[in-house]
């Protein structure tokens, strides 16, 4: 059973929440390349380790919150509200994992190259 400590409701089972994807995704501003725009729309990090995520307390207070979860152990390491600073996460007790690599920039293939 995975538990999330909702900042408003307290400790609840994860089935009360809906996963809201990667936290901290920022829409690029100004002129952007197709690669950067495609990355923003469709590509997300999938680290083997601690991931910052958005969760929606669907069957509770229906607020959005942020969670730091270890994707291998499902351990919830931190929970914080929007507008709050990301708390210091103590990962000493978790097995060290490599940092998520930056996504390789996709090369745009033109129609001429594909045919």
């Amino acid at each position: 059973m995975i538990l999330i400590s909702c900042p408003w409701c307290g400790m609840r089972d994860i089935t009360e929440f809906r996963h809201g994807g990667e936290a901290g995704v920022r829409r690029p501003s100004g002129a952007v390349t197709e690669g950067a725009w495609g990355n923003y729309l469709y590509f997300r990090d999938n680290p083997k380790g601690v991931r910052a995520e958005r969760w929606f307390h669907r069957h509770g207070c229906r607020q959005w919150l942020f969670v730091a979860r270890h994707t291998v152990t499902d351990e919830v390491l931190a929970v914080w509200r929007p507008q709050e600073a990301i708390p210091q996460i103590n990962v000493v007790h978790v097995a060290p994992t490599p940092e998520a690599e930056n996504r390789p920039e996709l090369r745009i293939v033109t129609d001429r190259e594909m045919s």
Binding site: G38, N39, L106, I108
Partner: protein
Amino acid sequence: MLRQWGGIVDIAPDASPIISKTPVAGLYINCGWGTGGFKATPGSGHVFAHLLATGEAPPLIQPFSLNRFVSGRLIDEHGAAAVAH
């Protein structure tokens, strides 16, 4: 209720499969079939094998490249297969 079950399917943002090279050399993917892949497996295996053997996608699957999420040429199949995607 006598029984219930649930599963997980992989669905791309446009609900169409991805049959493609990847930015990683030697890594190819054939996925994102959602709930509609079983009947397509013989055909997709055939064209995927062509891709692996030659390094070039046959014309039939070129639109299903991973690149479509960068170029914007999505294949919107959200209404296909009469299932909720």
